[in-house]
């Protein structure tokens, strides 16, 4: 836990009062350049892997560019996939600021989607925006309860949150299968058991001028809001103290339990909203498609962004671009759909390896000599 907390909280979360401007900028430059270098190293390692299996990395990356970022159409495709990734990454990054490694966001996404779908199914015909608001609250609340329980188990019983959250994800998927095959099933859905299709007023449309649904805006606003909360308020400051040293936080009289449950619950709420968005904007009904791995991709995004909420936005767009290009890569290069998973694995290992270099470069520590 203590080691985890140190790596999770990123470099120097609480700066001493005598830190000079140079030092702050040194840390900032390191916090940006090190993950960026690790990303490039991961992509380079993946190129070697492609050469090893007899495929061309040049062709691969040019296809990623073409299908992910090359045209207006591909940008729309990429940005549509970005929304759930941003929210899923928040589900990892928020508890990480407390030193908790929560990786079961997939469960909150799935159940948030099912709750939203069930709301739309059992309470159809609400006037105006009421339906969408209701679904939104249902999704957020379900996700908050699900991941909040992980935080409560951690605080009350010391249950390891990494294992419990992943177990909860498996339970969530079983629960979803039970619900959409049983009590929440629309009898008309034959091949793929689903909840009843949502009414027109329950669907979320596109942002004007873009072929991208409103989930993207919600995701970006959520990232910015959480950044402000954590970097600029006393709440966030308290959380960073808990993440740095839990015993010091307790001695200071900080409400550690409340922070743990609250941060986990808000993390889960965002994941639940991601599930609700998938239902209301993409599928139009809740079914097995909800468990499509966004929760797991979110883990990588949060780690790549070093749990910085603002950095999640560009990293999320980049990873969404890779996912958007998956289909074209399969067809053009005759590679399996797991190719993107392998790529993500390489980048993930590279980013964690780069942690070991933190503080190793003199360039980023201009005053290190003066201290001795």
């Amino acid at each position: 836990m203590t080691d985890a907390a140190k790596t999770m909280a990123g470099p120097a979360p609480i700066k001493g009062s005598n830190s000079s401007v140079m030092e702050v900028w040194g840390h900032k430059a390191e916090a940006f350049l090190l993950p960026f270098g690790a990303l490039l190293a991961g992509l380079a390692a993946f190129s070697v892997f492609l050469l090893f299996v007899g495929k061309s990395p040049v062709e691969f990356y040019s296809l990623v560019y073409k299908a992910g970022f090359g045209t207006a159409f591909s940008w729309n495709n990429t940005l549509s996939r970005t929304a759930p990734l941003l929210l899923a990454a928040l589900c990892v990054a928020i508890p990480a600021r407390l030193g908790l490694v929560v990786i079961g966001g997939e469960g909150a996404i799935v159940l948030g989607g099912v709750a939203a779908g069930a709301f739309g199914m059992f309470l159809p015909g609400l006037p105006g925006f009421m339906g969408i608001v209701g679904m939104f609250l249902c999704g957020a609340l379900t996700g908050a309860l699900w991941i909040g329980a992980v935080g409560a188990m951690r605080f009350k019983r010391g249950v390891n949150e990494t294992i419990s959250s992943l177990l909860m994800a498996y339970i969530a998927i079983a629960l979803m299968n039970h619900l959409v095959e049983g009590p929440f099933r629309d009898p008309a859905s034959l091949n793929k058991p689903s909840t009843a299709p949502l009414g027109e007023t329950y669907r979320i449309g596109n942002i004007p001028g873009l072929d991208v649904h409103w989930g993207l805006a919600i995701g970006i606003i959520a990232c910015i809001a959480m950044w402000v909360l954590i970097e600029r308020t006393t709440w966030g400051f308290a959380a960073r103290i808990v993440g740095g040293n839990i015993r010091a936080a307790q001695v200071q009289g900080l409400p550690v339990g409340l922070l743990m449950v609250g941060f986990c619950a808000s993390a889960g709420a965002f994941a639940g909203i991601a599930g609700m968005m998938e239902v209301a904007a993409v599928h139009g009904t809740a079914n097995g498609s909800l468990a499509s791995g966004y929760g797991y991709a979110g883990i990588l995004i949060a780690f790549l962004a070093r749990h910085n909420m603002i950095a999640i936005i560009p990293v999320g767009i980049l990873l969404a671009g890779f996912e958007a290009s998956s289909g074209l890569i399969q067809r053009r290069m005759d590679l399996p759909d797991a190719t993107i998973l392998v790529l993500q694995g390489f980048v993930f290992v590279a980013i964690l390896l780069s942690e070991t270099l933190t503080g190793r470069f003199k360039l980023f520590q201009p005053h290190i000599g003066d201290r001795s």
Binding site: M1, T2, D3, A4, K6, T7, M8, V101, I103, M153, F155, K156, R157, G158, V159, N160, T162, I163, S164, L166, L167, M168, Y170, I171, A174, L175, N177, H178, E181, G182, Y296, I299, L300, F303, P336, D337, A338, T339, L341, V342, L343, Q344, G345, F346, F348, V349, L352, L353, E355, T356, T358
Partner: protein, 308 residues
């Protein structure tokens, strides 16, 4: 139908048989994780190792027409994953839990990548021994079809328990797991011991995966593992890092996993997916019951990050 002959007895009998069948991968993964955790490190990536073991074991068995070569190959690749984990973790400032998550995703990705051509072909199965010859009831005979790997797992558990208790290797692993400082004072390289312990753990997880694809369920597909690798990590905590307890815990988990199919065999089909969740719920309840915020767990290796 012969099933009606024994009525509801079919459920416990099917669960017994299921427990033996389903528990085998748990036994191997948890014994592997037991060795790794006793050395003071946790490898959460065993889920990925298990899936890669399932794929590589199946592919090698298919290419060589020998199921046992498949098991060996899976152990080899599992050991490679373990070595990789151990090598990264010995670098400073690297967090073993995060590396485990990364290797879980990488192992699954690589398994799906290389396993695509092997979803269709049929590889040879591992042999099973019949212990049910004394009974005329077909369900009993089916339940007591015991795979050789299950017996191997039991033998291995006893051997590992003995190793921890009375051999130099076992003592070395325990010292490293309990205190890096003590190990250093004795001139033992903690990192090297952990490297080999993680490799051994990975090899056993690979064998567990090969059992999945080569015996039960007995084919390779992308949904072959349902979190056994992860549950095994929790199982080791429940078993208090004792290899013999790992067997009992694995049988318990196996029985929970067999509950759904056993009920289905007697015609209970509603709520099937809820029964499917039984092993996860059981794991979670055991974790809640046995964890504590105030004291270190009984028998926990002192250097283990999860119990600090």
């Amino acid at each position: 139908m012969s099933e009606s002959d024994i009525g509801l007895w079919a459920v416990p009998i099917a669960m017994l048989g299921g427990a033996i069948r389903v528990s085998t991968p748990f036994i191997f993964v948890s014994l592997g994780e037991c060795i790794t955790e006793r050395s003071g490190r946790i490898n959460l990536g065993l889920e990925g190792t298990l899936v890669f073991g399932a794929m590589s074991g199946y592919a090698i068995a298919y290419e060589t027409s020998s199921a046992w070569l498949g098991v060996l190959g899976a152990a080899f690749f599992g050991a490679l994953f373990g070595l990789f984990h151990g090598w990264i973790c010995k670098l400073p400032k690297v967090n073993d839990i995060a590396i485990g998550i990364a290797l879980m995703l990488l192992g699954m990705g690589l398994a799906f990548f290389f396993g695509k051509p092997y979803i269709q072909p049929v590889a040879p199965d591992l042999p099973a021994l019949s212990f049910g010859f004394w009974s005329d009831v077909p369900q009993v005979q089916a339940a007591l079809q015991v795979n050789v790997l299950f017996i191997l797992g039991l033998v291995l558990a006893v051997a590992i328990a003995w190793m921890f208790k009375s051999t130099k290797i076992g003592l070395t692993i325990r010292v490293v797991g309990d205190s890096s400082d003590a190990a250093r004072a004795l001139g033992i390289s903690a990192n090297k011991v952990r490297l080999f312990s993680t490799a051994a753990g990975g090899a056993l997880a690979g064998v567990g995966g090969a059992y999945l694809s080569l015996y039960y369920p007995g084919s390779w597909n992308e949904g072959i593992s349902s979190g056994q690798g992860l549950m095994a990590v929790a199982l080791v905590i429940f078993a208090r890092w004792n290899p013999i307890n790992c067997i009992w815990a694995a049988l318990l988990f196996g029985a929970a996993g067999a509950l759904g199919p056993a009920l289905q065999s007697v015609g209970v089909s509603s709520g099937y997916y809820l029964f499917y969740a039984a092993p996860y719920v059981l794991t979670l309840l055991l974790l809640i019951a046995t964890s504590s915020t105030t004291r270190a767990l009984n028998g926990a290796p002192g250097e283990l990050s999860i119990s600090k």
